[in-house]
């Protein structure tokens, strides 16, 4: 399996009125072809920032963006915006927006949305682009005649499908799915997750799947990156993270998921996540961690636990 995305030591800071927000620090992971990595964590942990940094979809107030992002073999971090637009954006990597309900222009038809990337990025003739749009919209399970409707005539689930179609129409290598189902009903959510599974196999896609819902993340994830306060605290294969997480935060997070099967009691992590402007010294999880030791006041090491797996915790240092 070939590597389609390699992120190393990615750092993303924002400047705001109250100070510098350290949204992402030292993020490192790789993504192979036909693989899905799930970024999970509580809101504000930096998962959306991390994903948006990959496709350069960031607000104006970015203070620092550094590290390395290699997409399909091309280093992109130092590219100019124009070059990025020309070579990477929507050719190699696409993005499914968090708020699909509002992501479509209300005054233009579905078809105009779909052909736009083809016309802009590939200069496809309009007729061919429309044919492609008709094909893609059937693949996401929407009848062809919906091409000629306006977004407000579609239900929430359908809009989400259109947005997914929009991100597939240029045959990208990597698709970033940012909470693609969180606003939808469970039945529609299951439906879309099913569709994403099928599309992935058909088109040899790699997904970056961002969600705060751990149960849902298990529907797609081959690999899981658990994020806390701007750090990836644990990265590992699904089999390991869902069954036997290592980092105390991952443990807490998994323990707080109420389960339908069995009678496992649920627990919660006391306290609230820290401010990213003034994070605690040393381990950022220390104030909430029940295993906290004096050593945790130092920045914890990244402990490699296997091929492409690591945990950021003093508990595993030296093992």
């Amino acid at each position: 399996m070939s590597e389609v995305l390699k992120v190393s030591d990615l750092k993303l800071y924002y400047s705001t009125m109250s100070g510098v927000v350290k949204a992402v620090e030292g993020a490192t992971f790789t993504l192979n072809e036909e693989e899905t990595i799930a970024l999970i964590g509580e809101s504000g942990c930096g998962k959306t920032s991390l994903a948006r940094a990959l496709i350069r979809f960031l607000p104006r107030n970015v203070a620092e963006l550094s590290g390395s992002v290699v997409i399909d073999g091309i280093e992109t971090i130092n590219m100019s915006d124009a070059e990025f637009d020309e070579k990477i954006r929507w050719r190699k990597i696409t993005y499914v927006s968090q708020a699909a309900i509002n992501s479509l222009n209300p005054v233009i038809k579905v078809v105009d949305h779909l052909i736009e990337p083809l016309v802009i990025h590939f200069k496809t003739p309009k007729k061919d682009a429309v044919a492609k749009a008709a094909e893609i919209i059937k693949r996401v399970g929407i009848p062809e005649d919906f091409l000629w409707r306006y977004p407000f005539e579609l239900s929430g689930g359908m809009k989400q499908r259109v947005v997914i179609a929009l991100s597939l129409i240029t045959n990208p290598r990597v698709v970033i799915l940012d909470e693609p189902t969180s606003a939808l009903d469970v039945m529609t959510q299951a439906n879309i997750l099913n569709m994403l599974k099928e599309l992935k196999d058909e088109s040899k896609l790699s997904y970056i799947f961002i969600t705060h819902d751990i149960a849902v993340s298990s529907e797609l994830a081959d690999k899981v990156a658990v994020m806390y306060a701007g750090w990836i605290v644990e990265l590992g294969p699904a089999e390991k993270v869902y069954v036997d997480p290592m980092h105390p935060y991952s443990k807490g997070l998994l323990g707080s998921v109420p389960r339908l099967k069995g009678n496992t009691p649920v627990t919660f992590i006391p306290g609230t996540p820290p401010s990213l402007i003034n994070p605690p010294k040393g381990c950022r999880f220390r104030p909430r961690c029940k295993y906290a030791m004096p050593m945790c006041e130092q920045e914890p090491p990244v402990v490699k636990t296997g091929q492409g797996e690591y945990v950021r915790c003093w508990l595993y240092a030296g093992k």
Partner: protein, 325 residues
């Protein structure tokens, strides 16, 4: 918990929203169509369903916020659908509390936390010293300690979890007998969700309040509620004790809904979920017979024709399906 008295009894309630065209009524949206349920004193009852199934409308009708089309809602034996509006405002509004979904929208942004919790007590003429004392007590009870840190803050300075605690404090301010909680934790993060629900449960036991827990999430309903009512297209399709119902769903709809809900399990990604085809029906002209029949894998001829009541099963469960008739 069983054997206690019914606090709230809803009988054959219909809430139909008229569709007005010019000056005439062109039809009705049958948001709630023949719902019967009961809540005992001190009991937590969950109403589970997808969005648009009528659960929020049902909650609002029980709160006395919207009129019923027919049927009755008995609260301590008084039919509140027959009560005049001023009586609802003066008496009933102090008997039931409301916790809403959106913690940010549920607070007037221009009021301090103290004022927000005080408002119901001002309206119901609680004396000033008593109000001050109670606000502090409520903040402590909901875990917002020390109260001084919160009294004079504004909602936007608090996190979603903290705001939901304020909402619960406000709902409890008048020591109501019933709290209607409409998706109280669905907008919160997973770990906070459990924290808030556990705190809520603790207070509910302390105050001996009954709770009507409206949610789309079976998982939290399983942990938080005593009984579950499942709603589909304006009707209750299944009811029963929470764990029984989730472990052995009887109605095809409940079954499908529980099936698509994942537990975190690395095996999930290799399976394709079985889902019901189609979408919930239009509530202006719902399908005849069983409302699920266009989507139901077990649909029979009878299901297309005959509407059926909730069938009482031997184990204290109810189900609206011809398979069990």
């Amino acid at each position: 918990m069983s054997g206690q008295q019914d606090l709230l009894v809803v009988k054959d309630l219909r809430v139909w929203h008229p569709i007005r065209k010019f000056l005439t009524v062109a039809g009705y949206v049958r948001a709630v169509d023949g719902v019967s349920l009961s809540v005992k004193q001190g009991e937590i009852v969950a109403i589970v369903g997808e969005s648009g199934c009528g659960k929020t409308t049902l909650a609002r009708a029980i709160m006395g916020l919207i009129p019923a089309y027919s049927g009755s809602i008995f609260f301590e034996g008084v039919d509140i659908t027959k009560l005049p509006k001023p009586t609802i405002r003066r008496w009933y509004s102090a008997q039931v509390g409301l916790v809403q979904q959106d913690p940010y929208g549920a607070m007037p942004p221009f009021m301090t936390i103290k004022k927000i919790i005080e408002e119901p007590m001002i309206i119901h003429k609680v004396p000033k010293e008593e109000r001050e004392r109670r606000v502090r007590q409520l903040l402590e009870e909901t875990g917002l300690t020390p109260p001084e840190d919160f009294l004079h803050k504004y909602p936007h300075m608090l996190s979603g979890g903290q705001l939901q605690r304020v909402a619960i404090a406000r709902a409890l301010a008048l020591k109501p007998k019933l709290i209607v909680a409409d998706e109280p934790v669905s907008m919160l993060d997973a770990s906070v969700r459990i924290e808030v629900l556990m705190m809520f449960r603790g207070l509910q036991e302390k105050y001996k309040t009954s709770v009507l827990y409206i949610t789309h999430d079976f998982a939290t309903a399983k942990y938080f509620s005593d009984r579950i009512f499942v709603m589909y297209a304006g009707q209750i399709v299944e009811a029963g004790p929470s764990r029984d119902l989730i472990n052995k769903p009887k109605h095809p709809y409940t079954e499908a809904l529980i099936n698509v809900l994942p537990d975190p399990d690395p095996g999930n990604r290799f399976t394709v979920k079985k889902i019901l085809p189609g979408e919930p029906p239009n509530l202006i002209r719902p399908p005849p017979g069983c409302r699920l029949h266009p989507r139901c894998p077990y649909a029979m001829e009878k299901c297309r024709r005959e509407e059926l009541p909730l069938i009482e099963l031997s184990d204290g469960r109810q189900v609206r399906c011809w398979l069990y008739a």
